[in-house]
């Protein structure tokens, strides 16, 4: 599974949407994700990938596409 696919899966789960409806260029703010959800996602990414991630990063890397690129360049 690619980073993008994995992110689609966990973000769909968090937002309660179907993975196929979670487009990689869609901004997180347009999904059913509040600041607590974004923090929890950041925590999930950090613990699964053993990667130090600023919890506010998901407001800057605010699409799956941007976030996947950041994860891949920092892994």
């Amino acid at each position: 599974m690619t980073t993008t696919q994995w992110l689609q899966e966990i973000i769909a789960d968090e937002s309660g949407e179907k993975p196929e409806s979670v487009s990689i260029s869609r901004k997180f703010e347009t999904m059913n994700l509040d600041s607590l959800s974004l923090l929890s996602l950041a925590h999930e990414i950090e613990s699964k990938l053993s990667l130090e991630i600023d919890p506010t990063a998901l407001t800057e890397y605010d699409t799956i596409e941007k976030l996947a690129k950041w994860i891949e360049s920092n892994s």
Binding site: S35, S37, L39, H43, E44, D54, P55, N74
Partner: protein, 396 residues
């Protein structure tokens, strides 16, 4: 992470946990009011923070309400009884008005019924004895044992040191910012655990009796909530304060020698200075009841305002040489215990801990040297606290 940053308060600034003051001082001097990375308006100057703590135009916010709103999300698909909101409902620093006043009266009465002086004296002796034959130890454990011994005796708590450490650490985290649901769920487990422990404590009966005396019928959940906050604040805040204060003294031989020779009055002045300098509670939160105009900002009523106590306590407009410990600083109107209606209920206990504990603890610790490279701080924002710091016996 690499990011171009303008100056915005951000606890993820590299090195923040090791030394938050560098960043906080910059915020205060360059942008003393601004929207921080947490998305809320944040105040750094002493005058602003002091005014907002003291004025009746500002109120505490309810953590319990926030956690209650998030309950459906936090516990979705999780086999845990939601207890976060209930457990934090009666914490006095999140309440206002009459309820807040009544909660404080019952707790203060309970504190006044405890002979803290004897308990603290006994606890410092137990602590020094426990570490007497060690050549190396973690300074954080030393501070933790002292506070644990006090609380165990004062509040009849049937929990181990490890349990108290974990419990209070988790309850402290519940007040922090940037807390994800995974951590809230862990906190919830500890809150439920605490309730079981508190069932048979004499402190529970004491609180019930105190509220009955003032004709306040609080339910058992309120009593457990108050017991939880007693342990959390009593352990974590006291340990944080003691740890930072003693650490500064043992790193500074001149200060250490002065501290050991001071008379009672001079020692009290130094202790206040240690409270100012250490500022373990780095931030507190208030809500403005009325719209606010301040230094060009138009802030609507009911906005969440972050008040940076640590920065205010180091504001050069209020304190000369604010970033150094001046053992004879007086007056010293620091805000480490807050101010106004939410002034810390345990302030006098914290003062007594240091008045009785400072000299015997420093006399013991001066036989050891701190390993500077081993000093680690907890990744907490609201409450600054040592995680670990290794000490080794001097063999000169």
């Amino acid at each position: 992470m690499d990011r171009i940053e303008q100056l915005v308060w951000n606890p993820f600034t590299p090195g923040y946990y090791q030394n938050p003051l560098a960043h906080l001082n910059d915020c205060r001097e360059i942008v003393p009011i601004h929207v921080g990375s947490q998305g809320a308006i944040t105040f750094f100057k002493y005058d602003h923070v002091s005014e907002m703590l003291r004025s009746k135009d500002y109120e505490a916010t309810s953590l319990s309400d926030y956690l209650g709103e998030k309950e459906d999300y936090l516990f979705k698909g999780v086999d845990q009884c939601p207890y976060l909101s209930t457990a934090s409902k009666a914490w006095p620093f999140y309440n206002n008005g009459h309820t807040h006043k009544m909660l404080r009266v019952g707790m203060m009465k309970a504190f006044n019924q405890i002979n803290f002086k004897d308990i603290i004296q006994e606890s410092v002796e137990v602590t020094n004895r426990s570490f007497a034959d060690k050549d190396e130890f973690d300074f954080s454990d030393y501070c933790g044992l002292f506070i644990y011994e006090i609380l165990k005796r004062a509040f009849d708590l049937q929990m181990t040191l490890e349990e108290m450490t974990n419990y209070s650490s988790m309850l402290t985290l519940s007040q922090d910012i940037f807390v994800p649901k995974q951590v809230y769920l862990e906190i919830n487990k500890w809150m439920l655990w605490g309730k079981k422990i508190f069932k048979n404590s004499a402190y529970k009966d004491q609180l019930i009796a105190n509220y009955s005396d003032i004709s306040q019928e609080f339910d058992l959940e309120t009593i457990y909530s108050l017991m939880g906050v007693t342990v959390m604040a009593g352990y974590e805040t006291s340990k944080a304060n003691l740890g930072i204060a003693l650490l500064e003294a043992i790193r500074n031989p001149q200060l250490l020698e002065i501290a050991l020779t001071l008379g009672e009055r001079e020692q009290s002045i130094l202790i206040e200075e240690l409270f100012r300098y250490s500022s373990p509670t780095q931030f507190t939160i208030r809500v403005n009841k009325k719209p606010l105009q301040i230094e060009g900002f138009e802030i609507p009523a009911n906005s969440k305002l972050y008040l940076c106590i640590a920065s205010a306590n180091h504001d050069p407009r209020k304190f000369d040489n604010p970033n150094s410990i001046q053992f004879d600083r007086s007056p010293n109107d620091h805000l480490s215990f807050g101010a106004g209606p939410h002034f810390c209920l345990g302030a006098n206990i914290a003062r007594t801990e240091l008045r009785i504990g400072l000299k015997p603890m420093l006399s013991f610790l001066k036989n050891f040297k701190i390993n500077e490279g081993s000093i680690k701080w907890k990744k907490q924002i609201i409450m600054r606290n040592l995680d670990s710091a290794l000490m080794a016996r001097n063999h000169a």
